[in-house]
């Protein structure tokens, strides 16, 4: 019997898996399950009626649409920042590197207030844009800026180690084979960054969907125009509409989880190509 058992260098698979399942269950899954239990009190009909309003639909489009856009913007500019931080040595690099984490560390409300002060029609930047009729604070553009702000570290921090590990010799090889700089980036560097880029963008997107603190200050929160889903949930809670709030919450959970699964699947596909 003993001899047949597969030997592993590090023992304890059973114990660690048991712990993982119990921990995730207790900390993540059980509370979320309760959301569904609470919402189920509505029945399918009540559930449908709680969600099928213009106000919910508008908030839904705004939240997921802007989060996706923020994720993509962070993907592009986060790549640029990670590239500079990983590739070049320059005075002040450490300072810039540390400042990337600030959106992680700050209370989001502080970010919201700071951004609002800047972009409000009487703020530093807002007052410059006002003559051109561009409104940032209290408009979707303001929400987007807040979402980009809080999502940036995810992209930078997932890409940076991958960029640092890239073999410089591969780029030199591409150059000696006659590839232009752009071709080298496009054919050699970028494909190896794609898995990390997808992860970072996904994390930034997921964070943006759930973001509340920084957005409520800059959004203006006009129902149907600049009202995000998390705010709508809070509003329902304040009106003691617990079933309505949980219905919204369950819908958000299902959509977010579905999107994360889809992105994970896409990423798995690119990873297989890279490492098989």
């Amino acid at each position: 019997m003993q001899a047949n058992k597969r030997r592993r260098i590090l023992p304890g698979f059973g114990l660690s898996l048991g712990f993982t399942v119990a921990y995730l269950g207790l900390v993540v899954l059980f509370p979320l399950l309760l959301v569904f239990v609470k919402a189920s009190g509505l029945g399918w009909r009540g559930f449908y009626e709680a969600l099928a309003t213009d106000r919910v639909w508008a908030a839904c489009r705004l939240t997921f649409g802007l989060s996706l856009l923020a994720g993509l913007l962070n993907g592009v500019f986060g790549l640029l920042i990670a590239w500079v931080l990983a590739r070049y040595q320059f005075p002040g690099r450490r300072f810039l590197d540390a400042s990337v984490d600030l959106p992680f560390a700050m209370p989001t409300a502080v970010a919201g207030i700071a951004l609002t002060t800047l972009y409000a029609p009487n703020g530093w930047i807002g007052s410059l844009l006002k003559p051109y009729g561009i409104k940032v604070a209290f408009a979707p553009a303001g929400i987007l800026i807040a979402l980009v702000f809080i999502g940036l570290p995810f992209v930078v921090r997932t890409l940076q180690p991958v960029l640092e590990d890239l073999e410089v010799a591969q780029e030199e090889a591409a150059a000696s084979l006659g590839a232009s700089r752009w071709k080298t980036f496009q054919r050699v560097v970028l494909p190896q960054l794609v898995p990390a880029l997808i992860t970072g963008t996904t994390l930034a997107f997921a964070r943006a969907v759930g973001e509340y603190g920084s957005v409520v200050f800059i959004a203006g929160n006009m129902p149907g125009k600049t009202e995000i889903l998390p705010l709508l949930i809070i509003t329902k809670l304040e009106q003691y509409d617990y079933p309505g709030a949980t219905a919204l919450a369950s819908m958000m959970l299902v959509v977010s989880f579905g999107l994360l699964l889809l992105i994970n699947y896409l990423q798995r596909k690119t990873l297989v190509r890279n490492q098989a």
Binding site: E167, E172, A173, A175, S176, L177
Partner: protein
């Protein structure tokens, strides 16, 4: 194609990696850049390949009569094989080899079929047919090495530059590949420069060996010239085993190879020195004796035939006479 390097200097911060290199390499030669680590040999190779550049206005690189000192790697058509191969991990063997042709601008890019034919032909040449769909991570070290070679050859390079081509391989594969590369070079006839710190490899493989030390060239010559007539003590010591000994009553150091040491009976009148056998090693075609010279207490290695060993009946602890057959140099 010929390569000429003129008065080349390269400094990294305060470190002088190359201090005035002059080198002329004739068409179709197989040349070894040999030296210890830090001697500047890889830097020289990278500068020839356009991956590094000399200090401003300190040196020229001329390939086939054309001054390419300032042209970037992409324009030099120098096939470069990296020490750790630098294969594109995310591309198949086929795509790796095709890379240099694929990235050409549409005007000069061969057709898909032409690229396919060329790649398959190269893979046949390096004996990797049938592996074109594999990823680099699915290959052995020796196979990766040959993919890197095929990839470099795909662009019809004017010169082939190999950085420590066998450095990362185990002894058996090294030997096989060494023999294979020699035959391969004869077949394709492209001027080839390879970097190595292994003197055996350089002597066995190259037409011309360039011995480098501390950013300078110590000697250039055929393997035999270098072995028989080393120009400097450094070359003497770097190529093959060598003893440094003094004769009684003479101040200068003598360089003598183990096979140039004659072992005599202790009472022999021709003996210049007297020594005791400290260690005897006879597992090979010849026997290696480690001797302690009585006059100076220095150690001396000597190679003698197994036959002589038996005829003289030598064993550890015996006292013998020594004669040095110094080659005139």
């Amino acid at each position: 194609m010929s390569i000429i390097v003129k008065n080349l200097r390269r400094t990294f911060g305060t470190f002088q990696a190359l201090r005035g290199i002059h080198l002329e390499i004739a068409d179709t030669q197989l040349v070894a850049l040999l030296g210890p680590s830090g001697s500047g040999k890889t830097t020289l190779l990278r500068i020839i390949g356009g991956l590094d550049f000399p200090d401003a206005s300190h040196g020229n690189v001329v390939i086939n009569g054309e001054d390419v000192t300032d042209s970037p790697a992409a324009e030099r058509k120098a096939g470069f094989v990296f020490q750790h191969y630098a294969l594109f991990n995310h591309l198949s063997v086929f795509e790796n080899v095709a890379f240099g042709l694929d990235v050409r601008p549409p005007k000069t890019r061969p057709s898909k079929d032409a690229i396919r034919d060329r790649v398959l032909e190269l893979l046949r040449l390096v004996q990797l047919q049938g592996l074109e769909q594999r990823l680099p991570s699915e290959l052995s070290g020796g196979q990766r090495q040959r993919v890197a070679l095929a990839r470099a050859l795909a662009i019809d390079p004017k010169v082939l530059l190999l950085d420590e081509p066998f450095g990362a391989l185990d002894a058996k594969v090294r030997k096989d590949l060494r023999r294979w590369l020699r035959a391969f070079h004869q077949e394709i006839g492209v001027t080839t420069i390879f970097v190595t710190h292994d003197q055996q490899e350089a002597l066995e493989l190259a037409d011309v060996v360039v011995v480098m030390n501390q950013g300078q060239i110590e000697q250039i010559g055929s393997p035999q010239q270098l072995y028989d007539h080393p120009a400097t003590p450094f070359v003497y010591e770097f190529l093959g085993d060598v003893n440094k000994v003094r004769k009684p009553g003479r101040p200068e150091l003598f360089y003598v190879r183990p096979h140039e040491v004659s072992i005599l009976f202790a009472g022999d009148a021709k003996a210049e020195l007297h020594a005791k056998i400290e260690h005897l090693f006879a597992a090979g075609p010849s026997a290696r004796l480690t001797l302690r010279i009585q006059e100076s207490r220095e150690t001396l290695d000597a190679d003698i035939t197994r036959q002589q060993l038996e005829e003289m009946g030598l064993s550890e602890g015996d006292e013998v006479g020594v004669h040095l057959n110094l080659s005139p140099s």
